[in-house]
Amino acid sequence: MLKEIRPAIVLLALFTLLLGLAYPLGMTRVAKTFFPHQAEGSLIVKNGTVIGSEIIGQTFTSEKYFHGRPSATTGTDDKGNSISLPNNAANSMGSNLGPTSKALMDRIKGDVDKLKAENPGAPVPVDMVTTSASGFDPDITPAAALFQVPRVAKARNLDPAKVQALVDQFTKPRTIGIIGEPTVNVLKLNMALDAGVTG
């Protein structure tokens, strides 16, 4: 077996150079040339400030914005304690609560009560009350967007039909009509609302 020491060490060193440095650094260089926007994280810059990434969800609390999905991500406070910090894109995680978890049902019940007060009578779409896998799902379902139309229209003094038309416009269908699920990107939709785009 001692005869195998040299190839083990030499090949590992060569693989580290080729696959661990040349390959990723070369890919980084090519990415910078051909896909600079995606390579940096699909960032949205407004007046010189980065306001987020197109494909990373962020927190919206105001009534005049569409809200994203619940998030289970955490962060640390000034004293280093772990605290709830929704949509923390530097610490991705899910709730990991199981289907018979009392904590999960209690949380969902609280969210359902709030949403029912906001839009009485309408069924609450399941993605509005369940935490996402990444912790910052950029999307909601068309159902969740339509559920929020009355609130957003009222807060902005807009005709609900116009807001609904905007939602339709920002609904991304399945890829080639088959792959994936229809989505509404919350950040892009809210930016369009702020920009005064009408559907």
């Binding site: 195998e4 696959l19 494909i55 991705s92 399945r174």
Partner: protein, 575 residues
């Protein structure tokens, strides 16, 4: 379940069917040393590698030497990766200034990547520097995959060679696999991933000021170059904690489809390599068919139970129905762009193979949908399986299947021209029994010790499932988790690390012994009395053996976890 969901599963299955034969043909040529279209570019590099390493290409290694070389290489990998994790504070490409990974976690992570498990006790974006991600994890994603494929090649040669002493050369198999198979695909698909929105940068995390004025730190990094080999080598260790659920690791439904295809591609192709090398491609298709049947059953079961959803959530007035505006179902721990069908399909694929990447948290699956990944791993990940390990795992079951068929008719069994004798069956049984020994043994230990139980996140039967899942996943070198379990404790870092090593090497050594024994035998011509192993009857017997030998072993444990939880859920019992 919807028509669209079933069509998506069908599209994925057809792509795998179409990929298997061409990729199998290419890989066969590569491992035989024949000319392929990349030879002019790669052959000079390959020759330099051998020269510097002092490797003689023509040196044919006995199974003990082949195994010894493999173990020596893995030992070197482990030492280097452990050192890198401990020293990353002093190494370049560390814009976030991460310090040393603490010893227990470094031990666990190093074993994890060397054994192709990629269990995540670490959280990528909160623990690891870009240097560690590239020169550490990415490299081991390549070479641990190449190790598995090399071992499968050695096992295949046991069948395809007659009266031979050697099983090939480990260093040559390792190098050819990395250079000719893994690297070219990684470059091409990696660029596709970047185009679709995966970051590839060495810059620091981005500070954003959100529309509502809040601060949001966005982790980035050289993601795409690692992501592609993470899937293609069935490694599964995420760049980020949320793995392929993170939009940067899996931006849209199209990248998701490609990722799933990458997971199965090599496992499917190796069945064809096997067929070609033993001189009858139908022998490979019989294995492919067996795997496909088991895969489809798992995917449909998982999809069904996730689409039905959780009655306790419906009882709160939540709409879980499927409409044109939402996929409905159990959306806890899932992202909208993937929905139910893809999340269930991905969970099945990632555990059929030894990948372990996730796009949805298996811990939040409904109990019987969560049972599917558990069973897939406990069967030994032979359904296309880990690259290499899936094929040799399945071939071990094939040996048992012909042995049992031989017992029924009272004839010495044969498989693809080799007589299967006492020694072969004993070693096969040893390789197969090591997995339940580790999984169930460690689960029993952890369930009965206070520092095992204190890590569970969910009370009731689900907590037991978390422990069972952890040891099933690590023993089978999968790496996915019921993520609620806090694995980053001294007890779990050590026991999970041991389970990974036992599951990997404890199976490989007897497997190589079988290969060495088979290679020495003469080829017997098939006669009227030979049980044909390229037809439907063999597929049926093989499936029965897998379910009886692999499945029943775990039934009592599964009853205590997901099965009892299912009845709790439908009766509204919460914990």
């Amino acid at each position: 379940m919807t028509a669209n969901g079933l069509i998506q599963i069908a599209i994925f299955s057809v792509i795998i069917l179409l990929v298997a034969r061409p990729l199998g043909g290419y890989m066969t040529r590569v491992f035989k040393g024949d000319y392929v279209f990349l030879t002019p570019i790669l052959r000079p590099i390959e020759v330099v590698f051998y020269k510097l390493a002092g490797v003689d290409e023509k040196d044919d290694q006995h199974w003990l030497r082949y195994g010894g070389a493999m173990l020596m290489f893995n030992l070197a990998c482990f030492i280097l990766l452990y050192a890198m994790l401990r020293l990353q504070g002093y190494l370049p490409f560390n814009p976030q200034g991460f310090g040393a990974v603490e010893p227990m976690l470094a031990f666990n992570t190093a074993i994890s990547f060397v054994t192709n498990t990629n269990w995540q006790n670490y959280g990528g974006e909160t623990t690891l520097s870009y240097f560690t991600q590239m020169a550490g994890l990415t490299v081991h994603n390549f070479v641990s995959a190449a190790t598995g494929i090399a071992l499968a090649l050695a096992f295949i040669r046991g069948f395809s060679r007659a009266s031979a002493n050697g099983l090939g050369n480990f260093w040559v198999d390792l190098t050819r696999c990395s250079l000719y198979v893994l690297l070219p695909v990684s470059i091409v698909v990696g660029l596709f991933f970047i185009w679709q929105g995966m970051p590839q940068t060495l810059g620091a995390y981005v500070d954003a000021t959100t529309i509502e004025g809040a601060h949001q730190s966005i982790a980035v990094g050289p993601v795409a170059s690692q992501e592609v080999i993470k899937m293609f080598g069935t490694n599964g260790g995420g760049f980020f904690n949320a793995n392929s659920a993170h939009p940067f690791e899996n931006p849209n439904a199209l990248t998701n489809l490609v990722q799933m295809v990458l997971i199965f591609a090599i496992g499917a192709a190796l069945t064809n390599v096997f067929g070609r090398m033993v001189g009858n491609e139908w022998q490979g298709w019989a294995l492919f068919g067996t795997m496909s049947i088991l895969f489809l059953v798992g995917a449909l079961v998982a999809y069904h139970f996730e689409a039905v959803g959780n009655p306790n959530i419906a009882a709160l007035g939540v709409d879980q129905t499927t409409t044109a505006f939402q996929p409905g179902g159990n959306m806890e721990g899932k992202d909208v762009r993937f929905g139910i069908a893809n999340s269930a399909l991905f969970a099945t694929v990632t555990t059929d193979a030894s990948c372990g990447a996730i796009i949805a948290w298996h811990d939040s699956f409904t109990p019987l949908a969560g049972l599917v990944p558990l069973v897939n791993m406990e069967l030994g990940e032979i359904i296309f399986g880990g690259v290499g390990s899936g094929l040799y795992g399945m071939l071990l079951f094939a040996v048992v299947a012909v042995f049992i068929a031989g017992l029924m008719v009272g004839r010495t069994p044969e498989y693809v021209g080799k007589k299967i004798e006492g020694y072969d069956v004993k070693m096969t049984a040893l390789a197969i029994i090591i997995l339940p020994f580790s999984t169930l043994g460690f689960t029993a230990l952890a369930s009965s010790l206070p520092f095992g139980v204190s890590s569970i996140a969910n009370a009731g039967p689900h907590g037991f499932s978390e422990i069972l899942y952890a040891f099933s996943s690590t023993t089978a070198n999968n790496g996915s988790a019921f993520g609620g379990l806090t694995g980053n404790t001294p007890f779990y870092n050590i026991t999970l690390g041991l389970a990974m090593a036992i599951g990997r090497f404890g199976m490989i050594v007897p497997m190589l012994a079988v290969a060495g024994s088979l290679a020495r035998k003469k080829v017997v011509a098939s006669s009227a009395g030979t049980f044909p192993t390229d037809g439907g009857l063999f597929v049926a017997i093989l499936i029965a053996v897998i379910i009886i030998v692999g499945g029943l072993t775990y039934f009592p444990a599964l009853s205590l976890g997901p099965i009892v939880e299912h009845f709790s859920m439908i009766h509204g019992t919460l914990y």
